[in-house]
Symmetry: C2
Subunit: 291 residues, 2 copies
């Protein structure tokens, strides 16, 4: 097992070469896609995919295209979420959002392009792997990212704005918008290593609670965070009447719930026979999250 | 081999069940996706995929999810092309466009959802097939639909509006926006049947010329067509200063070029040992195209 920053470094170095390996992408599509792909971010999803594959004894270089594909999916979702017709955000990680730089039409196409590129990259890698593990990982990732997963969460998010927060709805949104791609990361990483179904189920359970804790701390940071560190405006959720965990439970209640989710994430690791220290530490680190 | 309408019927009957097989899709995402998926259309791409697979002795029911996925990709591209930030169209096939009915935010998500659903459906089917043919077909389809294919064509289309028509640019746009998904149909259909590379190359060549002829006759219909039959306004290309073949060559020149592309499409079939009558007839039928 490597450190978080080592998996992150692997991803950072591979993202642009993987995109350009697809062939001759016309300008300004290339510029718009690479702008957002290089826009920083914690790279949590690809790191979790690589670490899961590594923990289960899989091949890291075979997993790298899937890790990059997952980050491309996350990036496309941010570009489309920021559009004027959606959250209408001007800043993302301290930089102008994609449509502010390239215009709405190119931003829509750059989002479509990154989603398509993710699937193309995974399908090509799956063919090269020569067995069905790549295909399985791709199915897992597309399912969690799709119309019963992340896109379902985003739909519920935009349609429930301005309504009073109900726990069922907030949970539905957070599980799908946030936890689903983390589940995809862990489950696909394990699938690529040829793990068994019960191991993948434990990984999914871990990632679900990790995702809930992550989103709860995200909601907290929107209220209590430091704009400079976050690279985005705070107070935006409240301004847009978003359904957040803080709106539901308040600051102290959200802190307690996040703590409980972190404990549950760590408990889910117990049934796994590998060294799960990396994953326990990562869950623990959310307690101290500043950005 | 079946008739065009029989392959079309197979597709029509499968589209909605395939979408709902993905699980519990929240309203209004489900309504928006199924609205556009059921919006009619000629279903040329899935028909070509099924017919190619059938011609080469493949299994039609295994090919059906890939045919539906291809139609989902075509449908998502229409939803996003019609958006206010793109072509800003109010009508599509005589019906209000997706964003006119469901709003821009849901239309963006419905497009994303259909593209994701296509990849999810194919990946799931590829796993079930148990060998790499499904994986290969998926790679072919995502590549032609992607950032070096259809999305590249759309990018060039939106960025070249208002410029004088150059043959290289018009050809680039038509080959990618239109021919690429037809190539995907034929090539993926043959791949699913386990055809050889040189057979797939001949199929691609056929579909390239078919696609060019199809787009040329489309450009002609925008000038000479009947609004009622087409279900859309005519003269729109000229109004938007689109790069069309008619703008480049005039009406008579475009008729001649379309005729030549149809001949080249039929010639490409010569090297194939199967009964290619279906494909020759389809190319021929573009000569008489009214909608």
């Amino acid at each position: 097992m490597k450190l978080f920053d080592e998996y992150r470094q692997m991803t950072e170095q591979a993202l642009i070469p993987m995109l350009s390996s697809l062939g001759d992408i016309p300008s300004p599509l290339w510029e718009a896609m690479s702008y957002s792909l290089q826009g920083g971010g914690k790279r949590i999803r690809p790191v979790l995919l690589l670490a899961s594959c590594d923990m289960a004894g899989g091949n890291l270089s075979a997993a790298l295209p899937f890790a990059c594909a997952l980050e491309m999916i996350h990036t496309y979702s941010l570009i489309h979420d920021d559009l004027p017709a959606m959250d209408n955000d001007d800043l993302r990680r301290g930089q102008p959002t994609n449509h502010k730089v390239f215009g709405e039409n190119i931003a829509i196409l750059a989002g479509d392009g990154l989603l398509n590129a993710a699937a193309e990259l995974m399908a090509g890698s799956a063919v090269k792997m020569g067995d069905l593990r790549g295909c399985r990982a791709m199915e897992i990732i597309m399912r969690h990212a799709g119309v019963t997963g992340m896109i379902a969460g985003q739909t519920e998010d935009v349609t429930s704005e301005g309504q009073p927060p109900y726990e069922d709805t907030v949970r539905y949104i957070h599980e799908r918008k946030t936890a689903d791609l983390l589940e995809a990361a862990v489950e696909a990483g394990l699938a690529l290593a040829g793990a068994q179904e019960k191991e993948m189920a434990a990984g999914r359970e871990y990632a679900l609670h990790l995702g809930m804790a992550f989103q709860m701390t995200d909601d907290l940071l929107d209220v209590t965070g430091n704009e400079d560190k976050l690279g985005k405006s705070v107070g935006k959720d409240q301004e847009q009447n978003k359904m957040t965990w803080v709106a539901l439970r308040g600051i102290d209640g959200t802190r307690e719930d996040a703590h409980r989710e972190i404990l549950m994430a760590k408990e889910a690791l117990a049934s796994l026979s590998w060294d799960t220290g990396f994953f326990a530490d990562f869950a623990e680190s959310l307690q101290e999250r500043k950005q």
